[in-house]
């Protein structure tokens, strides 16, 4: 993280962060009381709903709950929820970065998170499509195939890593 931080400092990012900080939108977000805590709160609501969506999908894939609904019905219930939450996370995340550019844009934890989030989003897209094209075959009384179970648990782990990186932004020195 120290080497990564030093590398960020050697790029044009610190200058860009300072320029961004002087824009009207950045100053509005930073100076208006409660805007940053409110954005962070909405960000947490969205990640909570997204994570719980994956949790409930896992519950059904492992057949430990939601057994009265088919896998397809469970997918229809939670995947749109997950995509909408991702959109809210993107919007609030951009606004938070605009509101506190030096804190975020010069932060190695922030950029690590930004590296992991697109991977998680692409894997979610792949998961969504794969599940939908095999949803009948994979809906067995014992739950989905081992690979699907592993992928589903992997998503939970990936989002826990993303949440951890998000929290570490506040603690990694820039």
């Amino acid at each position: 993280m120290v080497a990564f931080s030093a590398w960020i400092q050697s790029t044009s990012m610190p200058g860009f962060a300072l320029a961004l900080q002087k824009t009207g939108l950045s100053m509005f977000i930073a100076m208006t009381p409660y805007v940053i805590p409110a954005l962070q709160t909405i960000h947490i609501y969205a990640v909570a709903m997204l994570f719980t969506g994956f949790l409930m999908l896992n519950v059904r894939i492992f057949m430990i709950g939601n057994k009265s609904r088919t896998l397809a019905q469970t997918m229809d219930r939670f995947m749109p929820w997950i995509w909408w939450c991702l959109l809210v996370l993107l919007i609030t995340g951009v606004l938070m970065a605009v509101g506190e550019p030096p804190r975020d844009l010069q932060n190695p934890a922030f950029w690590t998170k930004m590296g992991v989030v697109p991977v998680a989003a692409l894997l979610t897209l792949w998961f969504d499509r794969s599940m939908r094209s095999h949803v009948l075959a994979w809906d067995t009384p014992h739950g989905g195939p081992a690979a699907v179970k592993a992928a589903s648990v992997g998503f939970m782990f990936l989002w826990m890593v993303i949440m951890a990186l998000g929290r570490w932004i506040a603690y990694v020195p820039t």
């Binding site: 709160t41 909570a48 409930m56 939601n66 219930r77 949440m163 929290r167 506040a170």
Partner: protein, 166 residues
Amino acid sequence: MDLQPLWDKIEQSPIGDWVASSAAGFPNVEVVHVIAICVVFGTVAMMDLRLLGLASKENRVTELSRDTLVWTWGAFGVAALSGAALWMSKAHVYMRDPWFYAKMILIGVAGVNMMIFHVITWKTIGQWDRGKPPRAAKIAGFTSLALWLVVIFCAREIGFTLGVYE
């Protein structure tokens, strides 16, 4: 009554001292706390939205309750333990922060709301398990959702005000 000696003792306990003095202690415990709170909020919101008739309308309320409650309580236990560890590291600072009191009181009110719902409204679940919840269930769901939304805002405010009231 001066409780400062008590807060000092708590902060000097092995847990309080480790969380406060270890470089990664506080952030890592906070990560656990945030993930646990996310599961609590997410599962509670899922149930509340069903009670409000806004989501999971095809699910039986009893089934959704069974599927979510185990996660809600498990995560709440983790959140309480990790939250206690965070509190022990700076007990005297937390005890001067009004947002901390607001968070704790609202969690208590959410607990009472949940208890009233399960003791009184739940008795008639057989009549609305698959259908539209009655007004009392909707009120309980709305109250719970509103309380937890504010609890998370208070929790975030603590991060901005810790030490301000010293």
